[in-house]
């Protein structure tokens, strides 16, 4: 057993967990944050993507014990209170989800890719979005509306930064 302490969605979380506990298990079973989904176990499908210290990570492939002190954000933590994150709102507006199972991972990956491209001052083109989604599989939507949602959210996410300049 290993004692771990991390910050999850802004709150402190600690537990004694078996050494082989995956972050996805810790989130789902210990913290009951069941928005993070497990779809493949081999780090291909991306339904389990969360942010660890600001970077997108597949939570089914990282040991909880290795993240002592980390700052973790899950799908439950991206909205600002009742106000949806622009990426969440864009998925709804553009019908970017059907069964909803891959959606948390898609939204977490979408936020991550927009943030990275904007930090580097690069344009997030349709081709770039499709390439960046390599690690997220959706069986329902055919990606068409997911791509549209991420394009739109990228515009929304850049707006406040520009306004502040």
């Amino acid at each position: 057993m290993t004692q771990i302490k991390m910050t999850v969605n802004g709150k402190s979380a600690s537990a004694d967990v078996p050494d082989n506990t995956l972050l996805s298990e810790f989130l789902r079973e210990n913290l009951r944050l069941t928005g993070t989904h497990v779809g493949c176990d081999t780090s291909q499908c991306g339904a389990c993507v969360v942010h660890v210290d600001g970077r997108a990570v597949k939570s089914c492939t990282v040991l909880a014990a290795s993240l002592d002190g980390a700052d973790v954000t899950t799908i439950e933590g991206v909205a600002n209170g009742k106000e949806l994150h622009p990426m969440q709102a864009a998925f709804k507006k553009h019908h970017g989800l059907q069964c909803g199972f891959c959606t948390p991972g898609m939204i977490m990956s979408g936020i991550d890719m927009v943030s990275r491209y904007q930090a580097e001052g690069q344009a997030l083109t349709e081709d770039a979005i499709r390439h960046e989604l390599e690690g997220n599989i959706c069986r329902c939507t055919g990606y068409h509306n997911i791509v549209k949602a991420i394009e739109d959210a990228a515009d929304q996410m850049s707006a406040p930064a520009q306004a502040a300049e």
């Binding site: 078996p18 082989n20 789902r28 009951r32 944050l33 069941t34 928005g35 993070t36 989904h37 497990v38 779809g39 493949c40 176990d41 081999t42 291909q44 499908c45 339904a47 899950t74 799908i75 439950e76 909205a79 949806l84 969440q88 998925f91 709804k92 507006k93 019908h95 989800l97 059907q98 069964c99 909803g100 199972f101 891959c102 959606t103 948390p104 939204i107 349709e126 081709d127 979005i129 499709r130 390439h131 989604l133 390599e134 997220n136 599989i137 959706c138 069986r139 329902c140 939507t141 055919g142 990606y143 068409h144 509306n145 997911i146 791509v147």
Partner: protein, 786 residues
């Protein structure tokens, strides 16, 4: 009405999914929770002589290990099939027996042999590894053609030659005579590759036994919880129906694979009784590949004859259908009545004949997967007509047009009568959007870059919204295929719809609410949809075969008719007017041509206060209906795929994909287009990427996403869509199903485009870079040899 029929309403169900608050089966955790893991047959065919669970039982945290013979002893029934097929000689089909857990013989890699119940999932899985099987390996039959050879290993003793049935449809003699006199004949061997459905949510079950009440609850990943309860009760003897509640909460995709009641759900229910614990099982992805019912896996020899003008004179197919080790619930109907009946395509064919031999193999059962039989028929018809056009030196679109059905209703030679359609206009629209006129220039430009550009068509029709109960009964179905709905108007005027359909991505909570909003003039936010719980909804047949629109919504309309009739009586009584003069508009119930009206919520209140109702009227405002469809509905479409192939590598890019569909009237265009996007992508997956591969010993080589290629975002383009609606005259909303069309129509469009690009018709799915490159090299060497 801004929320009504035809509006692009944002989905009501989305908020919980985008905030991580969806509730899927694996998210359910109850008191007294234990976890199950299965010990599975490690080889394709084996006699199990013994199960040694002593090491597993010695592990801390293990509660029990149970086996198939114990289940049998407790009276748990064998797994049934839901449709009996009669062979062409009149004999009944022959199926092997499917025990939920193996009693003697394991017949595919993954066949459940024992279950371990433990305090945690990790312990259960670790302990399952410690269970030792004493088994004797037996010869196995894997591929469908090999399994049908003389001397092939027998999968079941009672199924000689592994032949389940030898079925036919159409007039064999008429086709033979027509082909005899044909001006041109096209012949092909067509392989429809084996696929794994792969909903992103793996199957899961939570079984809860309440000993005091002698009552079971099952949370499960089901497309049809009432059918699950019926079968678990009537055939598997788990509990009587009134002692079993089945809940299918949020379900993460189905595509057919969650229709069936699998060994794991049955076992969890039984194990919860045996152990006195709530038992939860969740599949991992490899288990999903090994045990979820697969799709397709047909090998077909097709012959199509034409007269000198290019009119089809006859079409014949001989198909071997791989059913797998056991006959799953709808496995028998998929290659027969869902496949043979579509062999006329959208063409006026005077003679059609199909023969299907269903074959047992030592592989996981094969059953309905998105499209179910119709993709196989469409792929055969559409590859044949495109290939014939090339052989005859005709434009493939023109050859199609010469043969299009133009008058409706149209009676095919293979049972079905098509309801409505306008195939010429649909193809016109698709050709416009795809800019077929500009293709030659694009091809030349691609050639200047060393790329091969190709264009392929698929003009398809399919049958969905299964189906009139008496008709399917006469063809062997064990159940009726009606749907039910209940419309509850609350005293404040808000409305609850209870439906027997189940939404696992289809957006029923929104679409069904729009139908009510349109009818009553109230906002969609005042309508909620209840589904997926046998304690809440009385009965229903569930969602598959694109039936929730044409069948499920028709039931809602029928219940709304009754609600409206009662509401009008209440309004006429209250407003002292004739019932015939009452109209419902914009949320008001009015006397036509006057200023007398009641708000909708006042009707609800009047019905429940019941102080002043018409003489003899019962209080309340709640109506139910069962709707049995008059026929299938027949969506049709024209798909055009344009590809660019790199001849050096065989890598193929889809540069444009156009889909113009006829789904009749559309309730919510966003949702319908989303179904097309997803369906076409699955079809592209079948055409270019996906293939379940077993080795010669029956070990699956593609049991993870590292080996089975799912379509990713950069494998597919953005799609160009449009609609050409000819409303179905056969249901009250004039709708046709839209859930499967994309997956049914798209594979031949993709392959026709690739074969156009590479200049040879000798290509099977999936057209991987290696397959495309090999086809190119073969074509080159055969040209060199000539």
């Amino acid at each position: 009405m801004s929320d009504g029929i035809g509006a692009r309403v944002e989905r009501k169900e989305d908020k919980r999914f985008i905030t991580g608050k969806g509730k899927y089966t694996d998210d359910v955790r109850v008191d007294n929770q234990a976890y199950a893991a299965f010990v599975r047959c490690p080889v394709a065919h084996a006699k199990i002589n013994g199960v040694d669970s002593s090491a597993a039982m010695a592990m801390e945290g293990v509660i029990a290990v149970h086996t198939g013979p114990e289940m049998k002893e407790d009276g748990i029934g064998d797994i049934i099939t839901g449709w009996s097929i009669t062979s062409k000689d009149g004999s009944p089909m022959q199926c092997g027996v499917w025990n939920p857990m193996v009693t003697t013989y394991g017949r595919y890699v993954g066949d459940a042999v024992a279950v371990v119940v433990a305090e945690t999932q990790a312990i259960a899985r670790a302990a399952a590894e410690l269970v030792e099987l004493d088994y004797e390996e037996l010869p196995a039959s894997i591929g469908v053609e090999d399994a049908f050879q003389d001397g092939a290993a027998q999968v079941h003793e009672n199924v000689p030659g592994n032949l389940i049935y030898d079925w036919e449809i159409g007039d064999e003699a008429a086709v033979a005579a027509a082909l005899e006199g044909a001006h041109h004949i096209t012949e092909m061997k067509i392989v429809n590759n084996r696929l794994s459905p792969n909903p992103m949510e793996p199957r899961s079950a939570v079984a809860i036994f309440d000993e005091a009440e002698d009552h079971y609850t099952l949370y499960t990943t089901s497309q049809n919880p009432h059918v699950a309860r019926l079968v678990l009760s009537a055939f598997y003897n788990v509990a009587p129906e009134h002692k079993l509640r089945v809940i299918a909460p949020d379900v993460g995709g189905g595509f057919g694979s969650k229709i069936y009641i699998y060994p794991e759900e049955i076992t969890c229910l039984w194990a919860s009784m045996k152990t006195g614990r709530s038992v939860k099982w969740t599949s991992d992805r490899t288990e999903a590949f090994l045990t979820d019912a697969h799709g397709r896996d047909h090998v077909t020899k097709a012959t199509m004859g034409f007269d000198a003008e290019g009119r089809i004179v006859g079409f014949k197919t001989d198909t071997l259908a791989n059913i797998g080790a056991y006959v799953s619930l709808f496995a028998t109907v998929t290659p027969t009545y869902l496949h043979g009946t579509l062999l006329s395509g959208c063409y006026d064919m005077p003679a059609v004949y199909g023969n299907v031999k269903a074959i047992h193999t030592n592989t996981v059962p094969v059953d309905a997967y998105r499209g179910a039989g119709r993709p196989e028929a469409t792929y055969s018809v559409e590859r044949m007509i495109e290939t014939a056009a090339r052989e005859m030196g005709m434009d493939p679109a023109e050859l199609r047009r010469k043969n299009f059905i133009t008058e409706f209703p149209y009676q095919t030679q293979v049972i079905l009568q098509y309801d409505s359609g306008d195939y010429h206009k649909t193809l016109d629209m698709a050709q416009d959007i795809a800019d077929v006129a500009g293709f030659a220039a694009r091809k030349a430009e691609a050639a200047s870059r060393g790329k091969l550009r190709g264009l392929g068509y698929s003009t398809f029709v399919e049958a969905c919204g299964i189906a009139p109960s008496a008709a399917v009964g006469s063809l062997g179905a064990a159940v009726g295929l009606w749907e039910s709905a209940e419309v509850r108007v609350n005293p404040v005027g808000s409305v609850e719809i209870l439906t027997g359909c189940h939404s696992h991505g289809q957006g029923h909570e929104t679409t069904f609410a729009q139908v009510v909003a349109d009818r009553l003039g109230i906002p969609v936010d005042n309508v909620s949809v209840v589904h997926g719980d046998t304690d809440k909804v009385q009965f229903g047949m569930g969602t598959y075969g694109s039936r929730s629109g044409p069948v499920g919504m028709s039931a809602i309309v029928k219940a709304l008719d009754k609600v409206e009739a009662k509401a009008k009586k209440i309004a006429a009584h209250t407003l002292e007017a004739s019932e015939d003069d009452i109209v419902i508009e914009n949320g008001e119930v009015k006397v036509a041509g006057t200023d007398k009206s009641m708000a909708w919520h006042e009707i609800g209140l009047a019905a429940y206060i019941a102080h002043n109702l018409p003489e003899g009227m019962e209080p309340g405002l709640k109506e139910a209906a069962f709707y049995d469809p008059l026929n299938f509905s027949f969506p049709a479409g024209a798909l055009i795929c344009e590809v660019e192939v790199d001849p050096e590598t065989g890598v193929t890019d889809i540069v444009k994909f156009t889909a113009v569909d006829d789904f009749g009237n559309i309730i919510n265009p966003n949702i319908v287009e989303g179904q097309v996007h997803g369906g076409v992508t699955q079809g592209i997956g079948q055409a270019m990427l996906e293939q379940v591969v077993y080795d010669d010993d029956g070990q699956m080589l593609t049991a993870s996403y590292m080996d089975y290629c799912m379509p990713r975002a950069d494998d597919v383009p953005s799609y160009a869509l449009d609609h050409n609606a000819t409303p179905s005259p056969l249901n009250p909303l004039g709708v046709k199903g839209c859930g499967e069309a994309g997956a049914i129509g798209s594979p031949p469009a993709v392959i026709n485009a690739i074969t156009d690009a590479i200049g040879t018709n000798d290509l099977q799915m999936p057209a991987t870079p290696l397959a495309v490159w090999t086809a190119l090299q073969n074509a080159k060497s055969s040209m060199a040899a000539e």
